[in-house]
Amino acid sequence: MGKFMCVAAMILVGGVAVLTASGCGKKSLQSGGEAQSAQQGAMAKGGAGGGGSNGAQSGVGSNFPDTSLQAGGGSGEGLRGLDKNPSEERLGGGTLMAKADSAGSASRQLDDMRAEQAASAAAGLRDVYFGYDSWTISEEGRQALVRDADWLKANPSAAIKIEGHCDERGTTAYNLVLGEKRAKSVRNYLVELGVSANRLSVVSYGKERPFCAEHAESCYQQNRRGHLAVKAGK
């Protein structure tokens, strides 16, 4: 019965599906969490997939729902038109939207980040800085990487994550590509210096994790970088 009420409320609202009655919102939050961990398990085993090309199926989820637009939806859905003698339309209240993740996730991320920062600070690795729009490593950057390579050779068990960062100018999306180019430039130079590629992973943070928040070139310089982090707990 409760479930029916929720569905009825959503139909009445007729708007975006985030508007659900509070009761069903809470309940679905729990079931969402369970479904999610089941999903993660499935992903860890490698999602199966249909045909497709490029042999790329290992990175494709297998059990997400159909996102096709159902026939019959479209203009004016949920609107009933004006009436000379309108009857009462009851709109769903208590607009609660499910928070789509477990509360533990955020604090776990924070703990991991702190461990990584501590390990990186202890190693004393040097970062590489880039010019505007550029992913070319400067002479200064090369010198920094020679020292980083020496540390890596002296610490053969350490694995490094190379983060590509950008300043705030430009678009979020293109800066993610630019950040990856920077991170890969750093990785490629370290490999040239004799560091094994399988100790080096790259990730782009674009302009989303700046080191400095002012809107000034002095700050932008700080943010256009390849940052070397020691992977913690490996």
Binding site: N54, L91, K99, G170, A173
Partner: protein
Amino acid sequence: MTQTTFIGAILSGLLVLAGAVGILDSGAADVFLEATRPDFQKISLGVVGIQNTGGPDWLGGRIEEVLKKDVKRSLVFDLVDLPSLGIKVREVSNGATAIFKQAADNGVSLLVWGKASLKETGKEADATMEGFVYDSSSDEVVGGKRYAGSPSVLRLMAHRFADELVFRYTGEPGIARTKITYVAGQGSARELFIMDYDGYDPRQLTADGFLNLMPRWSPDRRFIVFTAYRNRNSQDIDMIELATGKRWTLISYGGLNITPALSPDGNFLAFASSYEGNSELYRLDTRTKSVQRLTVNPSGDLSPSWSPTGRELAFTSDRGGGPQIFLMSSDGTNVRRLTFEGDYNAAPAWSPRGNWIAYVCRTPRKEYKLCVMSPDGQKRMQLTTGPGVDDSPSWSPDGRHLVFSSTADGKSHIYMINADGKDLERLTFEGTHNSAPAWSPAS
């Protein structure tokens, strides 16, 4: 960005046309009409008032304010100031023929009025609103609506009534009940949020504690697709079902997995991934779960945006140096470059009406502003000016507005602007790093 260069936009449009086509006269008229068309079509509408028939003092006035803003933003109606025409407000009922005649004599097409109440009995609270419309062309009360619900849906009542008005006079569902999903900062993390189209009622969608980026709606508004950094070292493309909070990973290749976009029919997810070396575009069939590669190029390809028919994609590519906007068929064939002006054009968004592609253009002064270009490359306008980085344009489902992020006021916030560059409106005032807005489809 405090001023939009409407005149400048027309002039630059003229210059582009004059240079590219060499037909100045007819071209000029075309550009001018495109830029101002909403004004020419507006239906004059006066809101007499929302009478307070029980409840707190602010009730009627607040609903009236929401309704008036919706009417104005619809760009379908021209909101008339009734007192300036000598028409006394708040004195109307279904039989108030004197005020109807006054409105008709003053060229006001539609009159709207209503009432609202809010009753609290113990723990329960019940709100009502009703609204009616008089049409002077047919000299009759064409109809109305009556809504009831909890106090939390008072704004929704006004939005819904506004959308009924738009629906009545255009056959389109209106945008007053649409939503905007966006990214906001929480400490150093970026989480997804959803707010009403007018910036009210923001609600948090994710709580991962790291980065969630570039959300997009499914065409049926049930799902949000986005990029998530699940373990800080790799990116996935994830999907959340809004009604339940259930979450799935769609794409978990190595490398970048960014800029997901579902096709208008929901059958395909276009996205960029760098797992085969550099950022390329792919297309996931969401029914068969098979993936097709669309671009083969040593440069970065990203940010796919579907044409409303689903037959074509606009995207960003830095083949040839800096990023530029390209178009191609949705199977990856027939690639051609769209933008040639300036050395940085990115983040394309194809209008739901098909007639414009909005994007971020870098000006000669190295400012990142919003531009629009027609898909045939013949017409171009710069919509915003001034300091600050503008990013992530996304169209309203009626094609009359864009939402985008800008650092014009210091911190990054979300703004709305008309497709012709007028009526810039700031939507967010709280929080930090409000960015990457995406406008929901209409319902």
